[in-house]
């Protein structure tokens, strides 16, 4: 089972680069999500990998085969890949069984009987036994989705590509299908590139997430790494909620903004450089100003005034105006509300939770 290597990929439409200098490795049996807002070049990347588009620069490697380069592109039908499309792309004039069997017809080694057996088997895997002779138009959205999955898995591809496969489903079904896709990935172990704009989806499904922004890869890592150690403002903001404070490095481990000065989780800042600090709302501890406080090592303690509190059911969202500063911090705390709007509070921010973002964007 080979992996995929994308090397310095650039794809332009006319003058505009949809993807620029993108490098990425999907290890064998790994599922990597391409995550980013709409228009950032995810589909384009996937379609270059699939061989539908010719890159202007860069190469696509699968195992030891170079499949795409500006001078030569192996056509999609000879790449041993499968792809699941946003529109499912089921052929309305073929039954479920004919749809699923289509790819097997091009495998000489699979006999007709074997083909039928495999189709039955894969339909069982996606819980669609008995639907063989239906037409796609007679299926619900979720069932169509499963047919698309079955059609791709039955050919036992080396690489599986998915382009926002869940975006046409309603919310409940979408959640269910996330786990289903993860389950199938674990069962079949196919090297997979999964495109989505939904960070929660990416976090549930993938081994690693590659965040794209304006055609470039900004960061790649596990969900945990991206959440805890975002390298850019964009990643910090896109993955989960966060507070972003623009300031200037005052010391190798301090960032200042006006009267506010924070110890951050780094000791190698260049004093004078512009730095944005990201602090997750749930990392901040909030207590009434009157309660005793114990400022320990590596902890920032701030005073502030609660501007408003919002009840979110499983959490309380506080907006706290930090004293002597223009910064308003969002703090997430467990219900019930510890303080009310207008009250003075003390905020405790571990330095380890104050992540300096040094990359631009």
């Amino acid at each position: 089972m080979p992996g995929v290597i994308v090397k310095e990929l650039t794809k332009r439409y006319g003058e505009v680069a949809a993807v620029e200098g993108l490098s990425l490795e999907v290890k064998p049996r790994e599922l990597v999500a391409l995550l980013g807002p709409s228009g950032c070049g995810k589909t384009t990347t996937l379609r270059v990998v699939a061989g539908f588009l010719r890159p202007e620069a860069g190469e696509i490697w699968v195992g030891d085969r170079c499949l795409s380069s500006p001078s030569a592109v192996v056509p999609p039908e000879r790449r041993r890949m499968a792809m699941i499309f946003q529109s499912y792309a089921l052929w309305p004039h073929m039954t479920v069984a004919q749809n699923v069997a289509y790819g097997l017809r091009f495998k000489q080694e699979v006999s007709r009987a074997e083909r039928e057996r495999r189709v039955r088997e894969i339909l069982k895997v996606v819980h669609l036994e008995g639907f063989e002779s239906r037409y796609p138009g007679e299926l619900s959205g979720g069932q169509q989705q499963r047919v698309a999955v079955a059609r791709s898995l039955v050919v036992e591809p080396e690489i599986l590509l998915l382009d926002e496969p869940l975006s046409n489903l309603d919310a409940n079904l979408r959640e269910e299908m996330r786990f289903e896709i993860r389950r199938l990935h674990e069962a079949f172990g196919i090297t997979t590139l999964y495109v989505t704009h939904d960070q929660a989806e990416a976090m549930v499904i993938s081994d690693r997430i590659a965040v794209l922004y304006r055609g470039r890869l900004v960061q790649i890592g596990t969900a945990h790494q991206l959440f805890e150690q975002p390298r850019t403002r964009f990643v910090a903001d896109f993955i989960g909620k966060t507070n972003l404070i623009d300031g200037v490095a005052a010391a190798p481990d301090r960032v200042a903004r006006g009267g506010l000065s924070l110890r951050v989780a780094s000791a190698s800042l260049k004093p004078g450089a512009a730095v944005t600090v990201s602090i997750r709302p749930h990392e901040i501890a909030l207590a009434p100003a009157s309660s005793p406080r114990t400022p320990g090592e590596g902890v920032n303690v701030l005073r502030g005034t609660v501007q408003r509190t919002s009840y979110l059911g499983d959490a309380i969202d506080y907006q706290v105006q930090v004293d002597g500063s223009d910064v308003v911090l969002r703090v997430a705390g467990p219900p019930p509300a510890a303080v009310r709007a207008g009250q003075e509070v003390t905020l405790t921010l571990p330095a380890a939770a104050c992540v300096p973002l040094t990359d631009s964007d």
Binding site: F52, P75, F85, A89
Partner: protein, 553 residues
């Protein structure tokens, strides 16, 4: 190298030859003489007062046809798209019938209805009033405009009805809630939104009128005046003055191209008309007391376009003397036997027409499908040029196209004149825009991901084309075939210049019969032509599962 590329390139080349050859020759012949390049032909053409008159007549006719078509088409579109007018299906059906009725048949019918002496309406009038003179004379400019307009207004109707269908009534109701009265809503909200459609419908109608040959030939020539198309045709009378015809074609060509450009601009900015469209429910505006008068008005117009002409054709087909009352003595099937078994030209003309219809529709639909596929999937560089070329013949009126083909194919290397092939080439060229638009819409409806899905699972491009795209596009392509077939069997304006005695088609025979004053056989052939047309329409509706004029219901 993709093995499918030669196929695309061949289709592209066929198109270039089809378009470039006739137009190139027209341009060249119009400026060349034995002693080198010259503008003498243009000078002759534009200084001749008689030709100036023909130009002016054409402008007058086209303009008034445009106006009349809007005056007829716009209200009917509003009535059928927006109100609780009774009998909407019937009215839509009849408008469709008028859309596919060959205008020259309508013109013949109206000669029998409103000719100054024998015209049935005039006789009725004289009987009723005891007067001596005619009530109406169809052999006049207003008569011509009338007869052309009743078969041209469906273009405006379709344009506006489809636009109205896209505008959700929410938009109008939003204005009504803000306190605007019904008329005010129509004037401030609805009208501005359909204004581009009205204008472009007007232009479309003008274009139809400009290119028309049959109706002016039947009505204007006896009235003693020419239009551009009849004038160009008369240049081919012995001795043919091809250079003059070429020079006189150029203004018509330019005018058409210009108008189309304007229309494209208008439609390009129409985007907002559809914005509110999706999912907006439409509620019918109650007409109240006006329901039946409105219905009466619509039916009166459609009587002029359908009932009266069809009726008089049927009467003429079945009677010994068409102008006499339809008594037992006057009743006969002789016209049918004469037309199909005795009149020498008919049988071969019917065969020629069918042969050309089937051939053109098959090759045309195939070529259009290939081209539309290439342009939709951007398979070769320069695909935009192909789309442009496929639509380009729209600017070439049939008569002008015929002039170009006549010049191009009466000389080596391709001596096609005198064979059916020259008609075939003319028809394929002329029908290409219609065919291409149909095929284009068809492929736009086939999501490219359906093909991609086949590719990635292991099917090559041609296999995907055959196993996935073709089945999905089939009904659209059959409809394209039908459109082209209907267009071919009624074609007159190019045929009338390109035919030779051995290569007559039905429309040409009808025209010949007119010279001989044989109204019975004309009616028989006319009805035959209508039967073929409506048969094809029915087939097409079946295949498409909806009426072909409109946006999907």
């Amino acid at each position: 190298m993709d093995r499918s590329i030669p196929v695309w390139v061949a289709a592209a080349l066929a198109l270039v030859v089809l378009m470039a050859l006739p137009l190139g020759w027209i341009g060249w012949v119009s400026v060349s003489s034995e002693s080198g390049p010259t503008l003498a032909h243009y000078a002759t053409v534009f200084q001749d007062p008689q030709l100036q008159k023909a130009l002016w007549n054409t402008v007058v006719m086209a303009f008034w046809v445009g106006l009349a078509s809007v005056a007829l088409g716009a209200p009917m579109a509003w009535l059928t798209a927006r109100t609780d007018l009774p009998g909407q299906t019937l009215i839509r059906g009849l408008i469709m019938a008028s859309f596919v009725t060959p205008p020259f048949l309508g013109a013949f019918a109206w000669v029998m209805l409103a000719g100054p002496n024998a015209g049935l309406l005039n006789k009725l009038y004289r009987n009723l009033s005891g007067a001596d003179d005619a009530l109406v004379n169809i052999f006049t400019m207003p008569g011509l405009i009338f007869v052309v307009a009743i078969y041209t207004f469906p273009y405006v109707y379709i344009m506006i009805a489809n636009t109205l269908a896209l505008i959700a009534s929410d938009l109008e109701e939003a204005a009504a809630i803000l306190g605007a009265g019904r008329l005010r809503v129509a004037a401030t909200v609805t009208l501005p939104m359909v204004a581009p459609a009205i204008l472009s419908g007007f232009i479309l109608a003008v274009l139809q009128a400009l290119a028309l040959f049959g109706s002016p030939a039947i009505l204007a020539l006896p009235a003693g005046f020419h239009t551009i198309t009849t004038q160009i045709w008369s240049f081919f009378h012995y001795p043919p003055k091809v250079e003059m015809a070429a020079a006189f074609s150029i203004p018509l060509l330019l005018a058409t191209a210009l108008l189309l450009q304007v229309q494209k601009r208008l439609l390009g900015r129409r985007g907002y008309a559809s914005i509110g469209g999706k999912g907006g429910r439409r509620r019918a505006i109650p007409l109240g007391l006006w329901r039946y008068p409105a219905l009466g008005g619509c039916l009166a117009l459609l009587a002029c376009a359908i009932f009266l002409p069809y009726g008089v054709l049927a009467k003429a087909a079945l009677s010994r003397a068409w102008a006499q009352p339809l008594t037992w003595d006057n009743l006969t099937l002789a016209n049918f036997t004469f037309t199909f078994f005795e009149y020498s030209a008919t049988q071969s003309a019917v065969l020629n027409t069918l042969e050309l219809g089937v051939m053109t529709a098959t090759v045309g639909a195939g070529l259009a499908a290939l081209l539309a596929y290439v342009t939709n999937r951007r398979l070769i560089i320069g695909h935009q040029v192909l789309a442009f070329l496929a639509l380009a013949p729209i600017v070439i009126p049939g008569v002008v196209l015929a002039v170009g083909l006549f010049i191009a194919y009466t000389r080596p290397p391709l001596l096609l004149y005198g064979t059916l092939w020259i008609l075939f080439v003319a028809y394929v060229t002329k029908e290409m825009p219609v065919g291409y638009s149909q095929a284009d819409a068809t492929f736009k409806g086939v999501h490219p991901e359906l093909e991609d899905a086949g590719r990635i699972l292991g099917a090559g491009r041609l296999r995907v084309l055959g196993e996935i795209t073709a089945p999905l596009a089939r009904s659209g392509i059959i409809a394209t075939w039908c459109f082209i077939f209907i267009g071919v069997i009624r074609e007159l304006s190019a045929s009338i210049i390109l035919f030779t005695p051995a290569t007559k088609v039905i429309s040409v025979v009808i025209f010949d019969l007119k010279e001989e004053g044989q109204f019975g056989p004309i009616a028989v052939l006319g009805l035959f032509m209508l039967a073929m047309t409506f048969g094809t329409v029915v087939l097409m509706q079946r295949v498409l599962g909806r009426d072909f004029m409109g946006a999907k219901e």
